[in-house]
């Protein structure tokens, strides 16, 4: 299949569902078919939350995926749960600010990002989810970063004061992703 399935996971409140939504929006703007399927169990802030975003040139088949081609994890429980499920040759992006362990997958590309520290540099540690999204977009090149930034601005339109920090967190994450990709090539 030519499609891409991205699983984003973390604690509830860390914003991975929002990151997924922004990715889905940006892919849709590019003319791709998308689906955004959240976990909606009886979990609240502090519990685990995840979302699967499928991106495909043709209609998305199952939005529910057993083996994603990319995994973005904000916390250790999510890495332990979903790490083994990533497709061979897939991509794992790990938030080292909260995950002190390695991915233990020789058959995948693993990108380590200190998301909270980078977000802090951008203005707020709460934008760590956008650092993660930026790193993925930078690595995978699946959507246009400028479109994604437009989507961030649109999403935060009613809370305009948060736009600069979130956009800058995304940009810093994006640069980290691009750099990691270049490093892997070299």
């Amino acid at each position: 299949m030519a499609g891409t399935e991205v699983l984003m996971a973390g604690f509830g409140g860390q914003g991975m569902l929002l990151s997924g939504k922004l990715l889905a929006y940006a892919a849709m703007k590019k003319g791709m078919e998308v689906s955004w399927l959240p976990s909606y169990g009886p979990e609240m802030r502090g519990g685990t939350a995840n979302v699967t975003v499928c991106i495909s040139p043709k209609q998305v088949g199952s939005p529910y995926i057993s083996r994603p081609s990319a995994l973005l994890v904000m916390n250790q429980p999510s890495l332990e749960k979903f790490g083994p499920r990533v497709k061979k040759g897939g991509l794992i992006v790990i938030n080292t600010s909260l995950v002190p362990v390695k991915a233990n997958r020789d058959d995948c590309t693993v990108v380590y990002v200190a998301a909270a520290e980078i977000a802090q540099e951008a203005g707020t540690a709460r934008a760590a989810n956008l650092v993660m999204l930026g790193a993925y977009v930078g690595w995978a090149g699946i959507v246009d970063p400028d479109t994604t930034i437009q989507m961030i601005e649109k999403e935060f339109a009613r809370k305009a004061k948060f736009i600069p920090a979130n956009v800058s967190a995304f940009k810093l994450g994006f640069e980290a992703g691009v750099k990691a990709k270049e490093g892997a090539k070299a």
Binding site: M1, K21, A24, Y25, M28, E33, V34, S35, W36, L37, P38, Y40, G41, P42, Q59, V60, G61, S62, P63, Y64, I65, S66, R67
Partner: protein, 378 residues
């Protein structure tokens, strides 16, 4: 028209407005609460009415009353809430009133859980409430189809003066997909015809009633309803076949979101050189028995996959009339079969087909080992 990315529940609410429905009565319950949430905001914007009823029982009687005065009306709920509405639905069907309901199914029985399931198939299609009545039941498998079928539901409800239910599992309600709506202002108000209670000044009184103590009269009502259901069955069956244009040994039958999961498994099998067909009813009542039988006739064996313990399976058996071996696998309680697990169930059914009767010779050994290796690694 441009596409927007929207949650199924919100898209269902917007679809009702686009279909010209400006009245909603309902009660919140997970996983469909975004429908009332969305409409609570949206209805005042379009001059409509939103009422959060005190219970589902009340909501079902509010839609009964609204439809009775010739108003296009919607309610939505999830499994236990639909059970509470069952009494009202029987009255609505008996009085031949056009209402649209959406059931975003959660897992049962009892209070169950809030995760996706398809356990209300039989309730929706065969036994919603007491007495001899039927709903028209539509089962979408994507957010876009949910929108299209809600619009269709209002058309059918008005055309046949019958309640129409759209059933989807929690995934359809909670997921976001790009969706396109019919233009605003296209939906017309309900035609009050010769039945709606619109005030009898200057014309003969109309009565909407479902109490018939005279057995002959009550029998006649049942015969009239039966004739209507037969007509609906003749005219309104809808279905989809997938990968059925190539010869296949195995036919999968599934509905709603489960069919999407099966499609991915079918695509994966096709990549390995194994063709499997899929039959998906879109109207689950009336069930497209003839089309299902046609698809079954081309197969050696049939596998039914559902997110319940075997409910649509009964309709597949009726369609097949004992002509084919039928396997079934179901999950419930909010457990969803993944595409990989579905593929394994398909392989299991394929292995049960005697080799001599297979439609196609076996594929190259190279591919076989690849598939076998894959199986081993799981």
């Amino acid at each position: 028209m441009t596409k927007v990315l929207m949650k199924g529940n919100e898209a269902i609410g917007e679809a009702a407005i686009r279909a010209g429905c400006l009245h909603f009565f309902g009660y919140p319950i997970t996983p469909q609460s975004e429908v009332p949430e969305y409409l609570a905001k949206r209805m005042p914007e379009v001059g409509g009415t939103f009422v959060q009823a005190e219970s589902e029982v009340a909501a079902s009687n509010m839609i009964y009353g609204s439809a009775g005065v010739g108003i296009k009306v919607l309610t939505t709920s999830s499994s236990p809430g639909i059970s509470l509405m069952a009494e009202g639905l029987s009255y609505i069907a008996a009085c031949e009133l056009p209402v649209v309901l959406v059931n975003i199914m959660r897992s049962g029985p009892g209070l169950g859980g809030i995760l996706p399931a398809q356990g209300d198939y039989l309730q929706a299609t065969k036994g919603t409430g007491h007495g001899d009545f039927q709903l028209i039941v539509l089962a979408p498998s994507s957010v876009q189809e949910a929108v299209d079928l809600v619009v269709l539901a209002f058309e059918l409800a008005e055309k046949y003066l019958n309640p129409v239910m759209v059933i989807g599992d929690g995934m359809i309600g909670q997921m976001m997909e790009p969706v396109e709506f019919p233009p605003e202002g296209q939906g017309k108000p309900l035609d009050p015809g010769d039945w709606a209670l619109t005030g009898c000044k200057g014309r003969k009184k109309r009565i909407i009633n479902s109490l018939y103590l005279d057995p002959i009269e009550c029998n006649d009502i049942n015969l009239k309803l039966k004739a209507k259901y037969d007509l609906i069955a003749k005219k309104e069956k809808r279905w989809e076949t997938y990968n059925c244009d190539k010869p296949y040994d195995l036919l999968i039958c599934s509905f709603g979101m489960m069919s999407r999961i099966c499609k991915t498994a079918i695509d994966d099998l096709a990549e390995q050189g194994i063709q499997v067909g899929l039959f998906r009813p879109i109207t689950v009542n009336p069930f497209p028995y003839e089309a299902c039988r046609k698809a079954m006739d081309k197969a050696k064996r049939v596998l039914v996959l559902e997110m319940n313990m075997g409910q649509m399976l009964e309709d597949i058996k009726l369609a097949g009339e004992g002509s084919k071996e039928i396997d079934f696998f179901g999950t419930a309680g909010g457990v969803v079969l993944s595409p990989d697990e579905s593929l394994l169930k398909m392989r299991k059914s394929l292995r049960k087909i005697p080799k001599a009767t297979k439609a196609k010779p076996k594929k190259k050994p190279a591919k076989k080992t690849k598939a076998a290796k894959k199986r081993k690694s799981r």
